[in-house]
């Protein structure tokens, strides 16, 4: 079993060794749509007509002309080589500027960067995806990939927790997935509002009862650090070993190529050694405050 999160072995779609990694490549906004009150998605196509390649779990630096740049995970389908889809919350200067873009406008893209969610380590095993809030976005590409090669895996559980029913990301897609017989999709909210008749409670409750064989499963989790810590605890209590738990980390990033130092976490650069880590590799760091 591969211990570390997997590096992108298929080569990067947007840069090559001869190019300056700090130089953004222009993409056109194909479409932009609202997901939640503060969350939106956008699809991008390269202006140079080239293809885009990324591995599930990787991120790009998205640049708005004259405003700035932010790291955002790819949330689209890795098998769509023509389009990049990103989903993010409009909470900062750059992400708000991104939210205001219209189809046909230009976004600069650097990337893809970082490690991927490793699926090859899970062949023949159950898959457990545990997402909290916007953490579903970086996990969606690997869920797409698992569904595209469904025969390779045992049970697939998608366990998702949102703060309220109004915060359920990709809700229509979750409904469609729920209708499939080969996926076990469960959604819970921290706090029920309105006509919610579904489950209430933290996502860790779903992990306690979820339909997977802990002795023969690989887990992938993304969300706030506290949520991931509790998820890992419950997964481990159920018998999933640390070397079969993968998580995605977030830190400040300016360069995404290991120069700016902002994303350092212990001896790791999240941009290069992450964002996806095998929990066993970083367990010592994960519980140290303000590392």
């Amino acid at each position: 079993m591969s211990q570390a999160a997997k590096k992108n072995e298929s080569g990067c779609g947007c840069h090559s060794a001869s190019e300056n990694p700090m130089h953004p490549r222009p993409f056109k906004v194909k479409n932009i749509w609202k997901e939640l009150s503060d969350t939106f998605s956008m699809s991008l196509v390269p202006e140079d007509g080239g293809s885009v390649e990324f591995e599930p779990g990787q991120f790009n630096m998205l640049y708005v002309f004259g405003v700035g740049e932010v790291p955002i995970s790819v949330s689209g389908d890795p098998n769509d080589r023509g389009t990049l889809v990103h989903t993010t919350r409009a909470v900062g200067l750059v992400s708000k500027a991104l939210d205001e873009l219209k189809p046909g406008m230009t976004v600069g893209v650097r990337g893809p960067f970082g490690t991927q969610w490793p699926l090859d380590v899970a062949e023949g095993m159950d898959l457990v995806f545990v997402a909290g809030g916007i953490g579903l976005a970086p996990l969606r590409p690997v869920i797409y990939q698992a569904m595209a090669e469904r025969h390779k895996y045992g049970n697939i559980a998608v366990l998702f927790g949102a703060r309220t029913p109004e915060d359920i990301l990709f809700s229509k897609e979750l409904m469609r997935w729920k209708a499939r017989l080969d996926l076990d999709v469960q959604v819970t909210v921290d706090r029920a509002t309105g006509a919610w008749t579904g489950r209430v409670g933290f996502v860790t409750k779903l992990v306690s009862s979820g339909g997977f064989d802990p002795k023969n499963a690989v887990a992938y989790t993304c969300g706030p650090e506290g949520m991931m810590l509790n998820t890992i605890k419950v997964l481990h209590e159920r018998g999933v070993p640390y070397d079969r738990i993968y998580l995605s980390m977030e830190r400040n990033m300016k360069c995404a190529v290991g120069f700016c130092g902002h994303c350092q976490w212990g001896s790791s650069f999240i941009c290069r050694d992450g964002p996806v880590f095998c929990y066993e590799q970083i367990a010592d760091s994960f519980t140290i405050e303000e590392l």
């Binding site: 060794a17 300056n20 004259g66 919350r89 970082g114 400040n252 700016c260 350092q264």
Partner: protein, 406 residues
């Protein structure tokens, strides 16, 4: 790694000097020149197109800036350094290099504190990026690089990928601007004739005297006593050999060499501070030590240590757009892990407390650096001790943790 040796057998950026002066000295040769030899060296470097950067006096300190001739050197000056203290003092009359390292380091030139990475213009509905770094890189000749500073340059080489192949698939890139600046730089090292109270290079695996293959083109040892003022010139590279050939040198005699060794011995014996052994593991084991609180009660989180450190490499970027909104520039500036914004993500800074920021700095420098780059990030130059406004001492903090920790 000694890329300067491989990079070119040509001495000059313009190759303007002649080549018919007979056989040049070989790498490793030791020669002797007088004062005028140093004046000639500066003149030659300028003539063949180098921008000569060296020590000079400004604001009561020795700093590295463009120098034109011997007159720009801090001739006759020395310094006194200690925790939170730097004073220029009168040194041996006529000496060129008696002072030790000051607040600037060579990273100011190889990794400038503020520089434009690219600019872009709005074009139709899109934009076009142009003037991407590197553009218009000067050829620097660094005069007076100390042994600890050579080590620091080689550490930053690893950070920015000089001498390393890119592996984009593994996220390994080089910084094209750094690589270009480094490639074009010539290094004239100077061996320290003394050590200060904040020096501890020997306990970081260094030595006040440069050794073969340390990355210098030439290394000078100043010999000054009575009426004698001469310099032993060690040839460090083929490029250095071509330059040495243009100086009026004589071969070093055995007594010159023993004088040179005496200079090194004296400096080694004067190390003012010492780093505890095995500091890498000591810090790693003690991430929750109570000393972090204690040092945080003194630390101003001012970032001085990171600015003067010759290996600290953190940076930020700023996009500057002109008033038309049609032209924008991306600038890279030095940043510091001591600033609260440094670790900001949506929801707040990750390292809110000074203790977390001090811990980040010292554990990165002395511990995590090993895993990242296969070397310590500290060369024992002592700048962070000297220039800390409250005199916090990296060696003292490491020792305190070792003495009272796990």
């Amino acid at each position: 790694m000694s890329q300067t040796h491989k990079s070119s057998a040509q001495a000059s950026p313009k190759s303007a000097h002649g080549s018919g002066k007979g056989k040049s000295p070989s790498v490793g040769a030791k020669l002797v020149v007088g004062e005028e030899g140093i004046a000639t060296l500066l003149a030659i470097l300028k003539k063949i197109g180098y921008k000569t950067i060296g020590p000079t006096l400004r604001d009561g300190a020795v700093v590295y800036e463009e120098i034109a001739s011997l007159g720009d050197l801090p001739v006759g000056w020395s310094d006194e350094q200690d925790g939170g203290k730097y004073r220029l003092v009168q040194g041996t009359k006529g000496s060129f290099f008696e002072y030790l390292v000051g607040p600037t380091s060579w990273k100011r030139y190889l990794f400038p504190p503020n520089h434009k990475m690219w600019e872009a213009d709005r074009k139709g509905g899109s934009f076009e990026v142009k003037n991407i770094d590197p553009t218009d890189i000067p050829s620097y000749a660094f005069i007076g690089v100390r042994s600890c500073e050579l080590n620091a340059i080689r550490i930053q080489d690893k950070v920015f990928g000089f001498g390393r192949d890119d592996k984009p698939e593994a996220g390994i890139f080089s910084d094209p601007g750094y690589v270009e600046r480094r490639k074009k730089s010539l290094i004239i090292a100077v061996n320290c004739s003394r050590a200060g109270k904040t020096c501890f290079c020997t306990s970081m695996g260094g030595d006040p005297h440069v050794v073969a293959d340390q990355g210098h083109d030439l290394a000078l040892t100043e010999l000054i006593s009575g009426s004698r003022h001469e310099f032993v010139v060690e040839v460090g590279s083929e490029r250095g050999a071509l330059i040495a050939e243009l100086l009026s040198c004589r071969s070093a005699s055995s007594s010159d060499l023993s004088d040179e060794e005496a200079v090194a011995r004296k400096a080694r014996s004067q190390m003012g501070r010492k780093m505890v052994a095995n500091v890498k593991d000591v810090l790693k084991r003690n991430l929750n030590h109570k000393r972090w609180e204690e040092v945080a009660s003194r630390c101003l989180s001012c970032a001085n240590c990171t600015m003067v450190c010759p290996t600290c490499f953190c940076s930020s970027v700023e996009d500057k757009t002109d008033i038309t909104g049609n032209h924008t520039e991306r600038w890279r500036t030095w940043d510091s892990c001591f600033s609260i914004d440094f670790s900001y993500i949506h929801g707040g800074a990750v390292r809110r407390e000074t203790k977390s920021r001090y811990r980040q700095w010292i554990t990165h420098k002395l511990s995590n650096w090993h895993e990242q780059y296969g070397t310590s990030g500290c060369v024992g130059c002592g700048r962070c001790i000297t220039w800390c406004p409250v005199g916090i001492d990296i060696t003292e903090e490491a020792k305190a943790i070792k003495d009272t920790g796990e």
